[in-house]
Symmetry: C2
Subunit: 351 residues, 2 copies
């Protein structure tokens, strides 16, 4: 009988945050790739572009003029998917044709006045300002909205249509699918095991080490055991924290430091500005602020699309859309690769 080797033998792994499975078929990396090749990310972006609506002092689509900001800058999305005053579709007619009111607000947040920097290339103090602003927006929007989704789409490959460093914050009057699922899973785990799922998970990973990418005394970054995207990571606090606005000043500094470390490694992987979508998940807000949410643990997900090189991504298509997600290298291989990369950014390295 063959003995099991996760790098050679396909198997399923369980994602306890989504109550689902991923098919790990690491031997698939051996197949040649004759398919689509992406345009590598644009490497020469001007610091200031008079036509870019996100730059300081420029005029946006709705005629508003941006201030000459010198740190972060937040404004309302000019084409929001969620508006605060949409009327109610009315009572449901039939169980197969159900609709519900959706209300909310969509904000855009520039990280920096310059278009030619990204988080890993910004100073640590500048990244702390981004974290402070995230916490502030959670305070403000979370006072009424049950869910505030902070997320960053980075790179044209991830549908980002503006190279200026920025993220988005969409707050809604409903708990969206993903956090609702995560809430359910974390709650069930807590009830059964008496400790929050991700608190227990971080402890185990910090001991096992094989999936750790970077860590410091407050934070841990791992390629989760159940990762679906090739270089997906999970950023976790080392203590139990419900929401981003509960982080201490020290934790914000160490968060800025570990984000810079992780994102530098990402950029160094294929020596390009690494595309990804990332976002924060923490305990729900609004009316949920009054509930016991001890089952929650704050965390950020990073979902980068690239698989083989700067121009070949993983396609989550046919089998993945219709049956189940499948990955082509083990999470341990991905973690090992990221861990081995230098901590200084390829762009600032002396040659």
């Amino acid at each position: 009988d063959l003995s099991f080797d996760p790098k050679e033998h396909q198997h399923l792994r369980y994602n306890p945050l989504r109550d689902s499975w991923v098919l790990v078929s690491a031997h698939r990396m051996k197949r040649p790739w004759a398919g689509q090749v992406e345009k590598p990310p644009e490497e020469h972006i001007p610091r200031y572009d008079p036509r870019n609506p996100l730059c300081p002092g420029n005029t946006r689509a709705n005629g508003e003029v941006n201030p000459s900001y010198d740190s972060t800058f937040v404004f309302e999305n000019d084409f929001p998917a969620l508006q605060s005053d949409a009327p109610d579709p009315g009572p449901d007619q039939h169980p197969l044709f159900q609709s519900k009111a959706a209300r909310g607000v969509c904000k855009v947040m520039c990280f920096h006045p310059w278009s030619d920097v990204t988080l890993p290339l910004m100073k640590k103090e500048e990244v702390v300002k981004v974290i402070d602003k995230w916490a502030e927006l959670l305070d403000e929007l979370g006072a009424t909205y049950p869910w505030v989704q902070i997320f960053e789409n980075k790179g044209a490959m991830m549908g980002c249509s503006n190279p200026h460093p920025h993220c988005q914050v969409w707050a809604s009057n409903f708990l969206p699918n993903e956090p609702a699922l995560s809430d359910r899973c974390q709650r069930a785990y807590y009830e059964k095991h008496g400790e929050p799922l991700l608190v227990q998970y971080a402890k185990q990973e910090a001991e096992k080490k094989e999936r750790v990418v970077v860590e410091n005394s407050d934070w841990l970054v791992v390629v989760p055991y159940w990762a679906t995207w090739p270089y997906q990571t999970l950023l976790l606090p080392q203590r139990h924290v419900l929401r981003i606005n509960e982080l201490t000043a020290g934790e914000r500094e160490s968060l800025a430091a570990i984000m810079k470390q992780l994102l530098t490694k990402y950029d160094n992987l294929f020596e390009i500005s690494f595309p990804y979508s990332m976002g924060w998940h923490g305990a729900p807000t609004g009316l949920h602020l009054k509930e016991d949410n001890s089952h929650w643990q704050l965390h950020a997900h990073y979902y980068p699309p690239l698989l083989r090189s700067a121009t070949v991504k993983k396609f989550m298509v046919g089998y993945e859309m219709l049956a189940q997600e499948q990955r082509d290298l083990t999470p341990e291989q991905a973690a090992q690769k990221l861990r081995s990369l230098p901590e200084d950014h390829y762009k600032t390295r002396e040659s």
Copy 2:
């Protein structure tokens, strides 16, 4: 008070097959697009390419020579994600680190000996042969495997690395996430309402008409009420059928006819060979053949990525990955658009 208009006012719609919601924000179509532009699909593909491993008579990666086939041709994937003999990862250690054995088989099926045709451009009798082969493969693999996923990734944009018309069939010793979820939802609906979910749904849609794209006496194609992809469709039988191998000869002919109609409209939408992932879902097989699966209804999902033009797709990124899927036009608008397109293919039209 404003009165509700689904084209102007964002709202949520419920997907009863996945027990989840989609955010419909049709006013987002107004936003200008300055983001990534895709390469349009290659329009000049040679009928026979001596280097293409899928063409008749050519040698594949593993040294096998294809027969000079003149209809469909099935072979085992040379780089399978599922192999029949992977060893078991062993008993689970911890609830957060669960793995399971995954075994199966991956087949590739060429639709036609020519590389320069696609299903809408094939003769109806040739498409019937494809359907017959799907049924045969379900018979064969479904005898032992609980799930047989028939799917087609079409176009480089959907990760397809070979322009020759083909699909894949992956059979597994487990019920993957998507069919498991769909099974749960259909079962619960059946228990509550005494009729299969999709049988009831097809009847309602056939009456309402507003989301119907094409129909004949055996089949119905709609943009489902809960569609996430811009031009997503659902292909449904008009009678209750559990699996594709139960279709009568007449139903296979009318299925070939409606597939050609739908795919011609898809190609006519932007006058390109329209990319998509599609696949069949029917009652599970293997040990499940002995169970009562009356809650199931056979259906095919079509998931096409394009949104605005031949080169601008919908990005399911940040908010979609972390919170909830969002669409930029209503399903009724998409259905109306597809309905209005000509039924003769732009490539065969006399000018």
